[in-house]
């Protein structure tokens, strides 16, 4: 049964027309109800077939005029001759391209704590926001809330979820912010009935920040202090693991190891193969992070990576993956017009978008993340800059799909269009990296989201859900400085 034959079948066309009419009614209903998810739950079928589309599977060759069948949240069939179940809604894919849903490799989108101004509420959500007593050393665990979990802090009330989705992002790797050990990252799908439903996988990574959290009187007030501190925490965690195991076996006659919440949760996370995300944007930071990864004996992933054009070879030699910040260094709008940027800064601005191409050439596994980009439409634009600077389009796409899925250990369920994977898809009217391409439909967990023709202006650009504070934690400093 060929696709062309089906096209010719008047019955199917008529059925399609009826389906579209029904869908249109639901769509109108959905707009009035203003809760698209609820409408989707009530009215939409659980099965779709996108037919006759160009399918960019990422994990395999591009299929022309192929069909993707989605059922109960999963991709059930992909191919030219994929069988379409009778209950499936059929979407005519002629002239359309289907991609896997995009993954934002590191963000705080969809987190409760994102953008919450320091205060009482914030303090309840995140102890890091609460006034902290002065710390005098690593033993006081300053800036450490590794028990915070993005899976627990996931929320559907973050307005950025919709705008991220409209830009083609179906999944984020969300990480709590604030402090040196802010918490644990989780892979979240950007739709669900309840926050818990968003979680694809929890505790995938332990992000680190190396910014001193102390001040004049409080530890750590310097980078060297932070590095010493983090090292001590790893050692303590390892000791805790061994001591508590030994004690559990034979408590008699042994002093019990003291309980430490940070050590306990970090041990648990590392045991379940959580990655450790080390910030490293410029070459000094990158080289330092490579050395730290070795010293700390953790499964390290660098984030930042914008000077990878200088250090790609060194990163490749260590086989450490990189999350590349897509917020390329640019002139600040607030800059002093009479203060010309230094050559060093200009060179960095010019060359940063070539970092992904350099990483690709060197064979480094890398994924993209949005950094402090606040308007999601700019994320793909930024990826396009990397393409303009020499990165192959398919490599750029991979860095937004399968590569982050592989890095975070969810490639068995996300990142490509394959039967058995989660039905996170985007349907666009052209190449994702072409200027004029519009994303028409986004599927998250098999739920269909039509993207309106004139999407409302992106969320107040610099803000989190409460509009209080720019989400800049993952924005790294420019090339300057040794940090």
């Amino acid at each position: 049964m060929s696709v062309t034959k089906r096209h010719g079948n008047p019955l199917v066309l008529a059925l399609g027309g009826i389906f579209f009419a029904i869908f249109a009614i639901f769509a109108i209903f959905a707009i009035f109800a203003a809760v698209p998810q609820a409408a989707a739950q009530g009215g939409e079928p659980s099965s779709f077939a996108i037919r006759g589309a160009r399918v960019v599977a990422v994990s395999g060759p591009i299929l022309e005029e192929a069909t993707v069948v989605v059922s109960r949240g999963m991709i059930v069939a992909v191919g030219k001759d994929a069988a379409i179940p009778s209950e499936a809604w059929i979407i005519d894919g002629k002239g359309l391209t289907v991609y896997p849903g995009l993954i934002d490799g590191l963000t705080d989108v969809a987190l409760l704590s994102a953008g919450v101004a320091p205060g009482r509420l914030a303090a309840e959500i995140s102890p890091a926001h609460a006034p902290q007593p002065a710390a005098s050393g690593p033993e006081d665990r300053p800036g450490a809330t590794p028990w915070r979990s993005a899976a627990d802090e996931a929320t559907l009330s973050d307005k950025r979820i919709e705008s991220w989705r409209e830009a083609g992002f179906t999944t984020v790797v969300a990480a709590p912010k604030d402090g040196i050990f802010p918490g644990q990252a989780a892979v979240l799908n950007l739709a669900g009935d309840r926050p818990g439903g968003m979680v694809v996988k929890g505790a995938v990574a332990v992000p680190l920040s190396l910014n001193p959290v102390g001040s004049f009187r409080s530890f750590p007030g310097s980078l060297m202090g932070v590095l010493g501190y983090v090292h001590q925490v790893w050692l303590d965690t390892e000791w805790y693991k061994q001591a508590s195991a030994g004690y559990a076996k034979n408590p008699r006659g042994q002093a019990r190891p003291a309980y430490d919440r940070s050590e306990a949760v970090l041990q648990q996370a590392l045991d379940s193969k959580a990655l450790v995300l080390i910030p490293a944007n410029n070459s000094v930071q990158i080289r330092r992070a490579l050395a730290l990864a070795e010293r700390w004996k953790v499964r390290a992933v660098l984030y930042g990576g914008q000077m990878g054009y200088e250090t790609a070879g060194e990163i490749a030699a260590k086989k450490i993956p990189v999350l590349v910040n897509l917020q390329w260094p640019e002139k600040s709008k607030d800059a002093d017009p009479d203060e010309p940027p230094t050559l060093r800064v200009l060179r960095f601005r010019d060359r940063a978008p070539s970092a992904p191409a350099a990483l690709a050439r060197a064979g480094v596994k890398f994924a993209f993340y949005s950094g402090a980009i606040s308007a999601p439409k700019d994320i793909l634009k930024a990826a396009r800059k990397a393409v303009d600077a020499g990165l192959a389009e398919d490599a750029a796409l991979r860095a937004l799909t399968l590569s982050p899925a592989e890095i975070f250990g969810v490639a068995d369920r996300l990142g490509s269009i394959e039967a058995g994977k989660i039905a996170n898809l985007i349907v666009a009217d052209g190449s994702l990296f072409a200027e004029k391409t519009k994303i028409k439909i986004v599927f998250v967990d098999g739920r269909k989201f039509e993207i309106r023709e004139t999407p409302k202006p992106a969320e107040p650009t610099k803000n989190g859900p409460t509009g209080e504070k720019p989400a800049e934690e993952f924005a790294l400093p420019m090339a300057g400085g040794a940090q």
Binding site: S215, F216, D334, D336, E339
Partner: protein, 450 residues
Amino acid sequence: MIRGTRWTTLLAAGILAAGIAIPNMAQTQAQTRLATVYAITHAKIFTLAGAPIDDGTIIFRDGKIAAVGAKAEIPADAQVIDATGLQAYPGLFDSLSQMGLSEVAAVSSTVDSTETGDFNPDVVAAEAVHPASEHIPVTRAAGITHALAVPGSGGFDSGRDSGVITGQASAIHLAGWTMEEMLISKSVAMGLDWPTIETRTFDLSTFSRKDKPYAEAKKEYEKKLDELADWLERARHYAQALEKGSAARFDRDVKLEALVPVVHGELPVLVFASRARDIRNAVEFCEKQKLRMVLAGGDEAARVKDLLKARGIPVILGPVQNAPAREDDPYDQPMAQPAELSAAGVKIAFASFDNSFARRLGQQAAVAVAYGLPYDEALKAVTLYPAQIFGLDRELGTLEPGKLANLIVTNGDPLELTTELRFLFIKGQLTSLENKHTRLYDKYRNRPKP
């Protein structure tokens, strides 16, 4: 120098007789009044008012130079110093310093260089100068006989914002028991720390750099400038009222009164500015306000050298052995800038902007010579030019009859680090070269060997 040695012997004997010298002994006995008439003979004299005199005599009496020349008659009552093989120069002038205003920068109780508040025109440096400062004899031993003490010149040291109008700069001799003895002129310039559009600030509460949006920084700058213009405007009205003297009840105001000579163009403003934009803004402002401007600091003065030349604005340059102001500047920008300014016809002077490192003044000029500044200009930039800039050239700057006898006798070029200073006269009095450094040298040299 047969009879010259007598004085040193006497002084040495005196110290010995007194037993253990208290630390300030040398300071307080720095000058002797044994003779008021001196004749320095057979010296090569660099008068800076013409060609050097190869074998000349300088005669000075009661603090002032009486005669300079190849054939000056030696008065019968003169103390004669045979300077065969030696050279005589005018004493060096550190034309912007913290001399006497600050002793130990880290000890705030010894720092008196900056007043609180943004507008302090009534503040006079001379009133704060500590005559017994240890920095004075140390500086003197480097051939520097007089200096300008400037309020607000040590903004960073004092840990305080130095404000906008920092106060009046005083010219002082680097010797004397009291301020009255030291004073050359109580007020030679009004310090003006030019407000900058500062987008990079340092947040002391978080101890980190903080970037301010340009628009915000510019607004703050404009506010300060308006305030400054307002002060000057009020000073003009005040001056008018003073002249008329007719007002029934006239409220006197020390601050406005201090600004009157400034708005009349009698007292120059010593404008601290380093970036080219700040310098341009300051020049424009001073021209509009009809103020006489002297630029201080001027890290980027060479970028606006034509403007400075056209307006006849002299520049007091800070230490040249610094890193360039901008990352992309050539490494030698600070060292080469004096030559560039001088070649463009801008009058320059060197100054330490400091107290403990004021003694490096000569080397500062010498480094500029190594980077292209003509030697004569360098020498004048630490003697004659600063005297001219601050209107003190009738008393200082050259070795000419009628001028103050602030002079040095050396065995070579005073800008050269290895040159030995043999005699130093301030106000015509032979002045001790002993200082804290020499005392420490002697102390550790005489340490018993194991």
